[in-house]
Amino acid sequence: MRSRWTTLVFVLMMSLTASAQQGDKEKFKARYEALPSDANFDRHDLSGIWTQTKLDHSLGTPAPPLTPAGIAAMNGRIQDKPGVVGNAPWYTCNPMGFPRLMNDDEPMEFIITRDRILQVFQWEHRIRYLWTDGRALPSGENLENLGPAWYGHSVGKWEGDKLIVNTVGLEERAWLDNAGHPKSFHARIEETWERVDSSTLENQLTLYDPEYYTAPWVGSKKIYKRMPPDAITYFGWNGLFAGISEGICAPMNEVEGYNKGFRDIGTKPR
């Protein structure tokens, strides 16, 4: 009985915390949802600055059961909870990695070029390269030779009006979400992007990782809204100089300044 109550309390606490965050985000939504609709938009033109409509740092669906190797890979990862400071790699300015960065709070920009699509993230000021020149996704010896990368190696292609991007070779030390879910070097993540109207993108991720999970992990559909054009003009929207601003996690700011210089003062016993 006690454990059932404990579980219920935990679940409700988490959902209420999420709804409080969501309440803040709702207040911002009115700004970008007020954009006029353009019926003549190009469904293959993803260019622009976009922001997620929900604060959700996860894939948005429950994880499938882990394999024994997956359980071992997740061992030692401590998630934040009341009274406990977790050990997520980004607390010390390590890269969030893919896909965790894509599920962060700050905007990202798609820049379309002839042979690749660049995805520029505000947090970390990071670039992902999605190759669209027809090259094959690295596999076998090629992938083994390339080795792991925090954002993996990505190839994209259009199937109708959907951009399908596959990413392999992901760095295992990067957490997939705030819970510390793992992904193996041999995992593949498939993501779909679809511009459903002039100011809305839909995105969905699926993790294929038989080493660490007993089934594919199909994420929920995430909605991105276009940032208003005045956000990217010189000193435009509320004084922003440019759309994507510098969200760099610098150790001398985060580790020395914020963690040691401020947060820990209020966290450690006195």
């Binding site: 606490m13 409080a20 406990v84 006195r270």
Partner: protein, 130 residues
């Protein structure tokens, strides 16, 4: 069962305010709000969180420097605030949730200027400390 219901209610109230994006754990007493009156001593306009320090006289007249954290640079900028919104020496009132361990550190609820206007309000979504 009734005791469990009361426990559930209390925990739900305590859980509401925020998640710990940067590993705050139980740093702040989110059920407690205090009001600090003083002058701005320093503004650390930096990621991951903007920290504003202010000099506050305690009941004995001794000046204690408090620091309270806010959202990150980009999020505050999108809400129209900048590095010079608050200037060193400016008189402000800050409503904050203080550190649970009694240290003079806190997380913002809102800032009230001398003319009574409220800015950087977390309650109104202007200061989304996640």
């Amino acid at each position: 069962m009734r005791r469990a219901s009361i426990l559930l209610f209390v925990l739900l109230i305590a859980a509401a305010p925020l998640n710990a994006h940067h590993g705050r754990g139980a740093t702040y007493d989110m059920k407690k709000k205090i009001t600090l009156k003083g002058t701005v001593a320093r503004v650390d306009w930096r990621n991951p969180h903007v920290v504003i320090f202010m000099d506050v006289k305690d009941e004995t007249g001794k000046v204690v420097t408090w620091g309270f954290e806010n959202a990150g640079v980009s999020q505050l900028a999108q809400e129209g605030y900048n590095r010079n919104t608050l200037k060193v020496g400016q008189e402000i009132t800050a409503v904050v949730n203080p550190a649970a361990n009694g240290a003079p550190t806190a997380i913002v609820v809102k800032v009230i200027l001398a003319d009574g206007s409220e800015i950087m309000s977390r309650e109104r979504g202007q200061n989304p400390v996640d």
